[in-house]
């Protein structure tokens, strides 16, 4: 099973991070008109690296410092607005829409990679 885990880990980590980011960007878009709302986002590259970096190190005590992280522990930061608005809302719809579209495209790309991996594995199993 370990081999299969290793095969799918990259894609599953990327998918869950993309899913999480989609929820956050969706929240920003939902709150585009709410006064004092601060737009949030995650740094995908950093979060992905930290989630993939867990390696073979295992924690033997709950007091140990975490090695790497998972999609759930990704840092959610605040977006710096290009031009802050008077009501304290930092959502800039054009920025959010672009990020959302980019994220959705990457999600789909990851799905395609995953499908490719699965079909490769299937071909190998069938000996085609």
């Amino acid at each position: 099973m370990k081999a299969l885990d290793a095969l799918f880990k990259a894609d599953s980590t990327a998918l869950s991070l993309r899913q999480k980011r989609m929820e956050i960007l969706g929240s920003n878009i939902a709150n585009a008109a709410t006064p004092h709302f601060k737009a949030r986002d995650i740094d995908f590259e950093a979060a992905y690296k930290s989630a993939m970096n867990t390696g073979e190190i295992t924690k033997t005590s709950s007091a140990h410092i975490d090695v790497g992280g998972t999609a759930d522990t990704a840092d959610v930061r605040y977006r710096v607005p290009l031009s802050p608005s008077l009501d304290g809302n930092t959502v800039e719809l054009h920025v959010e829409q672009v990020q959302f579209a980019e994220n959705a495209t990457h999600y789909e790309a990851t799905l395609n990679f995953l499908n490719g991996r699965i079909s490769t594995m299937r071909k190998a199993l069938r000996g085609e």
Binding site: A30, A33, T34, R40, A104, I118
Partner: protein, 138 residues
């Protein structure tokens, strides 16, 4: 059981809030010409108050939707017009019109409609991706 906010809740509740906002705009525009014989009974424009609802108390996940916390009734002074021939005029010949800025209401309406559309877009993208994820490996 904690009620986890999914992207569908986020966009759905935001759409509901925008719907309330659209209703207040419609109500204000519909009553823009409703004059009255007394400043106390004249229509007062209404505005929704949006409030962010976070998924978690610590606001750690960044997931948040929006609810209408209150509907605020404007206390702007009604417009006083001298029209002694108007059937509703008071004993001094004045009628009172609601303090509604129709242009501002129209701008509000356009913004509401745009944001409603954005939420639909989020919803349909999330739905498409979810269906594609369900079909992985087929």
């Amino acid at each position: 059981m904690t009620n986890k906010l999914t992207i569908f809740d986020v966009a759905g509740r935001s759409m509901a809030a925008q719907q309330v906002r659209l209703n207040t705009v419609a109500s204000n525009l519909a009553n823009a010409a409703s004059v009255s014989g007394s400043p106390d009974t004249v229509y007062r424009p209404i505005k929704p108050v949006f409030e962010t609802q976070y998924h978690d108390v610590m606001e750690k996940t960044g997931i948040a939707t929006v609810d209408v916390a209150d509907i605020y009734q404007s206390d702007a002074t009604p417009e006083k017009r001298y029209q002694p021939n108007h059937p509703l005029a008071d004993k001094d010949g004045y009628i009172y019109a609601p303090p509604i800025d129709q242009n501002a209401e129209m701008v509000d309406m356009l913004e509401t409609s745009r944001q409603y559309q954005n939420n639909i877009e989020v919803l349909s993208t999330a739905k498409t991706l979810l269906i594609k994820t369900l079909n992985v490996g087929k």
